[in-house]
């Protein structure tokens, strides 16, 4: 078996003097919630719940949260905290051949960052438009024709749309500026201010939505249970997918954020707050969105079940503007809604770009400022060229589908395979969490992770077959091949090629704390574990 890092003497980890720290536990929790709570909580969760059994969806959703969301969140936190590095560095320390998994994660972040910024830019524009209700007369026409200037042909347009490009450049400038300030002064401050502000802003919006006429009809539609769905495997897959994609799992973000925690830190307790905090926001969003849809249905004299465009881009930029146009004080409501999208999006975007920046800092020894500017500028140029054009929406839709539904799922399987199957770190990570945390994951936690991996493999294969056979969204085959499968090819190539580049210094012998001996493990990774472990009692 290849030699792997065990517990080398202190002082030889990769640039320990350069690893930044969160100022405390609360700062980490807010940043991790900021990463997890994003656009998906507002526009994906409510629609997913409604379309998959309403109130009955909460049963598989909660089971998925407890059996997959929280265990994988623990795993990523454990990897980041124990191996103290960005995704490529931490995975390299998990197993010497696993660095590529980390770069696979980083490449997913790179792709997501390119288009996620575009949606934040649209939200920023719509925040501005809300004061004049520019979109009121014809929300769909305004969004697709006037604002995006979307062409009818699914192709790659070179025609830049200035009204999209301008806010997009602004969002990138803001992102680069925040990241250049570093973890403590940049990322942490954004989240410490941004997350409470988001909760207040969205709380006021939810309160207003629930006081609208027809709101109770919307809430009833959301929660009316259809228990027959509980025997439908697709609904369970939807629940696991929702939990999984919502928690910012499996693309290196949580590994990176956990690596900035101090060594003597409680890992599982805060992770639990992050998981429930994320779901709590989703539930609040479900109430606000469906209360608003109930008002819209009543205004139009139709049932909630007859409404269209109740999820994703259309919900936010077509349906909500239509509601805003019809309600008293719509400007205020519109400004709150789009400000919430900007805040939720920006705190997630920062985590995604930080994951890339951290990887380059670790690999090449760049400081945070250089990494932020280099990563940010390259991303900004590609983002503007790809997503502020007349064909940006088609590209966004396609790249999002492949990078999320295939890329992230594959990244999760790769991480589990590297850590548990090839790296044989299951006991070590479980005991690490038990040694430093207030909540012990338990000896069945690695078993659960293995079961989740099998589920993820099934999700990946079924989605890949479906995309290969049926295509996607009615787009031309060449387009799907180039921009859908091409995205996966790019991410995979990053995972294969980046490990060939040299680290700026020796990273093969990190200082691991607690040491394997302290965890009651044999010094050699992979040796048979016989010793019982009781944290805090029999550690030397």
């Amino acid at each position: 078996m290849a030699q792997q890092p065990t517990s080398a003497p202190a002082g030889d980890s990769a640039s320990p003097q350069k690893r930044e720290h969160w100022s405390g536990q609360t700062a980490f929790i807010l940043a991790a919630i900021g990463s997890a709570v994003g656009l998906g909580n507002i526009w994906r969760f409510p629609g997913e719940a409604y379309e998959n059994g309403g109130g009955a969806f909460m049963v598989p959703y909660l089971i998925a949260l407890l059996t997959a969301g929280i265990p994988i969140l623990f795993l990523e936190n454990a990897i980041g905290h124990r191996f103290r590095g960005s995704a490529p560095l931490a995975m390299r320390r998990v197993h010497r051949n696993a660095e590529g998994v980390g770069w696979f994660h980083v490449a997913i972040c790179f792709v997501i960052g390119l288009y996620y910024t575009a949606v934040i830019a649209w939200s920023l524009s719509y925040f501005w438009f809300s004061f004049g209700l520019d979109y009121a007369d014809d929300p769909a026409g305004f969004f697709f024709n006037d604002y995006l200037q979307l062409g009818s042909d699914v192709t790659l347009s070179a025609q830049i749309v200035p009204s999209v490009a301008l806010p997009l450049i602004l969002v990138w400038a803001l992102t680069i500026g925040i990241l250049a300030l570093g973890i403590h002064k940049g990322v942490e401050r954004l989240n410490v201010v941004g997350i409470p502000l988001l909760v207040v802003t969205f709380g006021i919006l939810a309160f207003r939505a629930l006081s609208l006429p027809g709101a109770s009809d919307g809430i009833e539609a959301l929660f009316t249970p259809d228990f027959s769905v509980l025997t439908d495997p697709e609904v369970w897959i939807a629940a696991y997918g929702q939990v999984f994609f919502s928690l910012s799992l499996a693309y290196g973000v949580m590994i990176t954020y956990a690596s900035y925690r101090r060594r003597r830190s409680n890992v599982t307790g805060p992770a639990l707050v992050v998981a429930f905090g994320n779901s709590s926001f989703s539930l609040l969003a479900g109430l606000a969105v469906f209360a608003t849809l109930g008002f819209l249905a009543q205004t139009q004299g139709v049932g909630v079940d007859e409404l269209e465009n109740i999820t994703g881009v259309s919900l936010s930029f077509v349906t909500f503007p239509a509601v805003i146009a019809q309600m008293p004080g719509g400007q205020f409501f519109g400004a709150l809604f789009f400000a919430s999208l900007v805040l939720a999006g920006l705190t997630s975007l920062i985590s995604v770009i930080q994951t890339i920046s951290a990887a380059f800092q670790d690999k090449f020894g760049w400081n945070p400022r250089i990494a932020a500017v280099a990563v940010g500028l390259v991303s900004a140029v590609l983002s503007v060229l790809g997503f502020s054009t007349a064909s940006g929406l088609y590209l966004l839709d396609t790249v999002d589908q492949w990078s999320n539904q295939l890329g992230i799922v594959a990244g999760a399987v790769g991480m589990i395979a590297a850590a548990l199957w090839f790296g044989r770190r299951g006991h070590e990570l479980e005991r690490h969490l038990a040694a430093v945390s207030t909540i012990r994951p338990g000896r069945y936690w690695p078993v659960l992770i293995n079961v989740i991996a099998l589920l993820l493999i099934y999700m990946f294969v079924s989605k890949a077959v479906s995309l290969a056979i049926d295509g996607y969204g009615g787009y031309p085959t060449w387009y799907v091949v180039v921009f859908g499968w091409g995205t996966i090819l790019f991410i995979g190539a990053a995972g294969v090629l980046m490990p060939w580049l040299r680290w700026h210094k020796d990273i093969a012998h990190p200082t691991l704390w607690p040491s394997r001996e302290q965890l009651g493990l044999p010094a050699e990774v992979g040796a048979k574990v016989t010793e019982q472990y009781r944290p805090g009692k029999d550690t030397p």
Binding site: Q25, G54, G55, G182, E220, T224, L272, A275, L283, P514
Partner: protein, 48 residues
């Protein structure tokens, strides 16, 4: 609002928001593990 929708809504709120409250209170009461192994001093924080 029908009884079943109301029950599901209240149960969801109790479990999810209750879960957040319980995990936050649990963390506030016991923020750190007091039985950590010795060692694990932090790396110096960068000044730049």
């Amino acid at each position: 609002m029908t009884g079943s929708a109301l029950v599901l809504m209240i149960a969801s709120m109790a479990l999810i928001w209750g879960g957040l409250a319980a995990s936050a209170v649990g963390l506030a009461r016991r923020p750190e593990n007091s039985h950590m192994p010795p060692g694990g001093e932090d790396d110096p924080t960068p000044t730049d």
